[in-house]
Amino acid sequence: MALLEVTNLDVRFGLRQGEVRALRDVNFTLERGERLGIVGESGAGKSVAAFSLLNLIAKPGFIAGGSISFEGKTLNTMSERGLRKVRGNRISMIFQDPMMTLNPVLSIGEQMVECLKAHRRISSKEASAICLDKLRQVQIPSPETRLDQYPHELSGGMRQRVIIAIALLLDPDIIIADEPTTALDVTIQAEIMALLLELCEQHNVGLILITHDLGVVSQVTQRMLVMYAGRVIEQGPTREIINDPQHPYTQGLINALPQMATPGERLNQIRGSMPSLSNLPSGCAFHPRCNFINRADGKPRPACIEQVPGFVESGNCRVACHMVAEMLEDRRLKEETS
């Protein structure tokens, strides 16, 4: 049994325009110590996915269906009290903006000790010792003095290190990191990412990394999900997806990167933009932007416009695309006839 198992997760938002389905048919598993990346552009639903794992979606959002099971316990039906024992303790979160987690009027030490004491019955002295140890693990220089400092006295990179220290405080099984380095500079980002990776490997902690940066995902994670308009459209081992993306959107996303084009030449752009969740196109949500909607004979593939694609297995990956399904079918038929 996997450590974390998400099946048919369905999240909706009750807005005044009506109900919006922010997330549907999301399925994935996470083994102990595994690192999973969730990639997508803004509005794809990747943050909603992260928040729903711990049932942290704020009103008007709610989990309408599916299940999130952690060590065999279903999180989405658990009581608030039960959830509190999981949150921060067994599964912790790192947010994009460190100031979202850090209270500006409490010192770093106070916040860390408070967090520890909320979950464990230990003396302040023991708690401080653990805090110091964690700060050392995240390679903060002179950790003793940091305990008495306030968040605003630290630089952005230092704050994110403190956040990682807090996330590790209770030796969790899983860390969910929502765009942990987006607000940081390139050199700092590289260091924080390397640190996170190192710590996860050292302590055998699972990582769910939510990001829009394909480069970071390829460096840190073992498996990845690509999301588009509230759905997972491709999932599988990271290297395989990066090296040989199957879904036209994933292909477009990777090919649009400046490093994939000759300097000075046109970039391979995807036309149009992500549809809003309240106004999704029919069929495959990507079809208005897709270059492969036409068949070989130049006629559009009707299924793309009419039917939401289901998943097909392609090697180790799962892809939700009619074109890929058709290609696989053709290949299978050819193999059968030959």
């Binding site: 009750g14 005044r16 149009g272 208005p288």
Partner: protein, 313 residues
Amino acid sequence: MTTTTPSVPGRWQRFRDSYLWYSFKRDYTAQLCFAIFVCLVFAAFSAPLLAPTNPYDLAQIDILASELPPFWIDGADANYTLGTDAQGRDLLSVILYGTRVSLLIGFGAVALQALLGVTFGLMAGYLGGRVDAFLMRLADIQLSFSTLMVAIVVGAVVKASFGSSFYSSYAVLMLVLIIGLAEWPQYARTVRASVLAEKNKEYVDAARVMGLRSKRIMFRHVLPNTLSPIFVISTVQIANAIISEAALSFLGLGMPETHPSLGSLIKSGFDYIQSGSWWITLIPGAVLVVLVLSINLLGDWLRDVMNPRLYKG
């Protein structure tokens, strides 16, 4: 991107789609307050048509019919629905006319406040530096004088130089001036704060890079984007101005009794409460409370709608 162009919605359609309209449709308090407010404003401004008598016309006043109670009390006269005051004026008519005066002063004073406050606030916020320091100190000084003190000083000066009959004949104008002058810093501060926030947005830089002059940037670009807080503060200020006017009139610094506002009506009836004619004070008092309360509740609703931090859906 050759998608078909959806039709551009008109102003009315935009309003129908707006969050303002959506939240108004769902907020019964706001609807009720809006209805009361519109009724009061309508009744007050069509007072010459609606009122049974003209209280300014001395010929229509019957001094013998003074202190008649409203219709639900024994001894009422069917001609005077809400009874009469000490001078024998029909109370309903005086209240309608009085509400008109109160509203006139309220709106007038707020218009003056807004004119001064928005101009000064915009200049202080956008130009900054010395202009800002000077205008804001001026606002501080103004705020340290209460409305009452301004009223006493202006009243004394005007009465001393032009005589009190001049003062009473221009009382509405005087009150607009006094309340307008006393309260403009509220506007100036609000506007300045939101200008400071808007000024750092990139569209202002874009306008500067375009080569537009400060005046045009201030009025064409920054001002329209500070309208939401101006709207919100206006509702509070109208209510405040009406209350200030009532307070001044109650103290005898406002409207004369021959030309009563709600405040001076309350004052004129106050002496008769002991003798049992409570309605002369309490009915105009109730109208004042309902008027101010409905404006304040509308203001509360407007603030909730226009403050994006409180967006709930």
